[in-house]
């Protein structure tokens, strides 16, 4: 789960990370109050996409008087597909220099990972490798001030900045641990008035750990239909094609998209119906696919834990209750295969056993429908 900048700043501020004065702004009138309170400020769109600045999502208001007009320009604007509903007014910093620092997990090393750069303010992927300092954290040791101080010296920082950087990395690692973060990022980490201050911040929390962070507000990211399917407990991603896809298992679902694309088709979604889903959730998932108005629905099942007869029952249930008004291609093999295939056959649906053949047929039907 990604947190909005203002929420990330709140968490970091509580942890002792220096952040500029700021407050949330939902209306032009609040923008005026905010600038009156904190002085000249940046009004920043609170959306979960990068590159807000370039896209016009950050503007400055020098006086309370001009703040409402500036706020109005951003509030309600469309930013890379997201509507801006909230701003964060933050005291304008007199930035001398921009750095970068983040804590994340290095999957390969199975360890926390700190990355810092002497060049900040741009995406870290765009920074020259020579400007980046990387360091794994030994979870047996954690992060103490010397750790970040050593990184600071490697970045060419010295004196006060090195000391502040050491304290900062310790605190960021604390947040990473305490909040089960996938990413804690400060970019840019500004030098202002000779001191470090977090000018922008990202905090992404491990979805699997949300149950132990009941205090955090829930931020739902996704299209309306994505949110709906996820509420069913299923993994779902909306794409821009016309063949709706359901498979069991994340790998199988990805492979199914791949197969469809391989034969020239365009997947409309990713849907993992789960490794061992039973009739009801499978039917619900299928219902969602129907509601998306695809040209074709392609169900690809390798029955391991999933039982093929359960899948067949789910398909028939959806056809009876709400109807399936588009062509349906079913590939069904594995546990209870025969029972499932027979159930479908009785209802006039023929199931494929080869994934390749089924995928090709789904693509063919979609082309026919165009």
């Amino acid at each position: 789960m990604k947190l909005y900048e203002y929420l990330a700043k709140e968490v970091l501020g509580k942890a002792g990370v220096p952040i500029p004065p700021g407050r949330v702004v939902d209306t032009p009138a609040e923008a005026k109050e905010a600038v009156a309170a904190i002085g000249p400020a940046a009004l920043k769109a609170q959306v979960l996409v990068g590159g807000r600045g370039k896209a016009g999502g950050i503007k400055f208001a020098a006086t309370p008087e001009e703040a409402p007009a500036v706020a109005s320009q951003i509030l309600g604007m469309d930013l890379k597909g997201y509507t801006v509903e909230r701003l964060y007014a933050e005291a304008k910093l007199d930035i001398e220099r921009e750095l970068y620092v983040s804590v994340t997990t290095d999957r390969g090393a199975k360890r926390p990972f700190v990355m810092a750069s002497s060049e900040g303010g741009v995406e870290i992927e765009d920074v020259d490798d020579a400007a980046i300092v990387r360091r794994h954290v030994d979870p047996r040791v954690g992060v103490l001030p010397y750790f970040g101080k050593e990184m600071a010296y490697d970045l060419g920082l010295d004196g006060t900045l090195a000391r502040e950087f050491g304290a900062l990395v310790e605190k960021l690692y604390g947040v990473y641990q305490e909040y089960d973060a996938e990413l804690v990022e400060i970019n840019p980490l500004a030098v202002a008035g000779g001191h470090l201050v977090a000018a922008d911040a990202r905090l992404n929390v491990d979805d699997s750990a949300l149950y132990r962070h009941k205090g955090l507000p829930r931020v739902d990211e996704g299209t309306p239909i994505e949110l709906k399917v996820r509420d069913l407990g299923l993994a779902f991603v909306e794409l821009d094609g016309d063949i709706a896809i359901m498979a069991n298992g994340a790998g199988m679902a990805m492979a199914t998209l791949d197969a469809v694309q391989h034969f020239g088709g365009r997947p409309k979604n990713f849907l993992d119906a789960g490794g061992g889903a039973s009739v009801e959730p499978t039917a619900e998932a299928l219902g969602v696919l129907v509601s998306m108005n695809p040209r074709v629905i392609f169900v690809n099942i390798f029955g391991g834990i999933t039982r093929c007869d359960d899948v067949a029952k789910a398909i028939l249930q959806v056809r009876e209750t709400r109807g399936i008004p588009v062509p349906l291609v079913v590939r069904l093999v594995g546990t209870n295969e025969q029972a499932g295939v027979e159930l479908l056959a009785k209802a006039g649906i023929s199931a494929y056993s080869e994934m390749a053949v089924a995928a090709k047929e789904a693509v063919r039907l979609a082309e026919e429908g165009r």
Binding site: T105, R107, G108, K110, R111, P112, E123, I124, E125, P139, R140, Q177, D180, E182, D206, D207, S208, A209, Y211, R212, A235, V237, L239, A247, N248, G249, A250, G251, M252, A253, M254, A255, L257, D258, A259, V260, Q261, H262, P267, F270, D272, G275, G276, F302, G303, G304, I305, T306, V333, G334, T335, E354, M355, A356
Partner: protein, 289 residues
């Protein structure tokens, strides 16, 4: 022969009295796994599927000499179960639960490293050694047969698809191992390949990878040392960046984890990378010639 799991392992099932634990205890025993005990606090002294239930791993190890354990508890209790196993001498640990917090997984794998224990998972289908007639996992029993191919996969169902195709093509398996779909898991492709290298019966290896992370790229550096033919299928060719494709680990983030990068690295290291899952069996047959 096989890797990691042999018929000699004495296996515990943590969370055996739950639905999943009970079902898979039955399946494992049907396959031949030597399940010697189950753990379910407060139910010590009872039996499930003819297997004695203990209150704690400590009691079970004391009574049965178990050295392996498979965990079927809810994600929130996975860390406790894993540490209970590791601290009581279990040295092969299969973690089935999905949605285990990454910080917990880091703690588990770090501790296992210190103790010289092997962790498979979390969010894995487990490990099966057909030639040894034993498994610790949730994979269907009928799709495997003994033979010369080692399989290591990130994903469950997809690996079933491929293992079944191998079996149908007459290509049996030494061991099929699921690394798990999470960002942090006990095994890497390299650690598993390293085991396959030492197993004389494994004559070719199938890697089933997917987008996300750099595990495949890192593994490519090991292929030369492996010295055995590798066929790789990678899922996610059609997946867009920035979207999590089911697995917590399957996401292309900030330019890392693209299929292109993985395919290039593996091909350059001499692996045969096939485009579609149904091409794996033929590629393995060729590799074994």
């Amino acid at each position: 022969m096989a890797i990691m799991l042999t018929r000699h392992h004495k296996i515990l099932v943590q969370g055996m009295t739950g639905n999943q634990g009970q079902f898979h205890t039955r399946q494992m025993r049907a396959y031949g796994s030597n399940v010697v005990g189950g753990i379910s606090p407060g139910k010590g002294g009872t039996e499930v599927e003819g297997v004695p239930v203990f209150n704690s791993v400590r009691d079970a190890v004391r009574e049965t000499g178990a050295d392996a354990s498979i965990v079927f508890v809810p994600a929130a209790f996975a860390k406790d179960a894993a540490f209970e196993a590791l601290e009581n001498g279990i040295r092969l640990l299969v973690m089935i639960p999905e949605h285990v917090p990454v910080q917990d997984s880091i703690a588990i794998v770090t501790r296992a490293e210190d103790l010289g224990a092997t962790v498979i998972g979390p969010n894995t289908f487990g490990i099966i050694s057909p030639g040894e007639g034993t498994k610790m996992g949730i994979m269907p029993n009928h799709i495997y047969k003994p033979g010369p191919v080692g399989v290591v996969a990130r994903s469950g169902t997809l690996s079933y698809e491929i293992a079944f195709a191998l079996t149908n093509a007459g290509l049996g398996q030494t061991t099929v191992l699921g690394m798990g779909g999470d960002p942090v898991v006990g095994q890497t492709f390299i650690s598993v390949l390293h085991h396959f290298k030492s197993d004389p019966d494994t004559r070719a290896v199938v890697m089933v990878g997917e987008i996300g992370g750099r595990a495949e790229e890192e593994a490519s550096l090991y292929l030369k040392e492996l010295g055995k033919p590798v066929v790789a299928y990678l899922a996610g060719r059609a997946s867009p960046p920035g979207k999590r494709m089911g697995h917590a680990g399957a996401i292309i983030e900030r330019g890392v984890g693209t299929l292109d990068s993985k395919e290039k690295a593996l091909t350059a290291a001499g692996a045969r990378v096939v485009t579609m899952p149904w091409e794996v069996a033929d590629a393995v047959r060729e590799a074994l010639r």
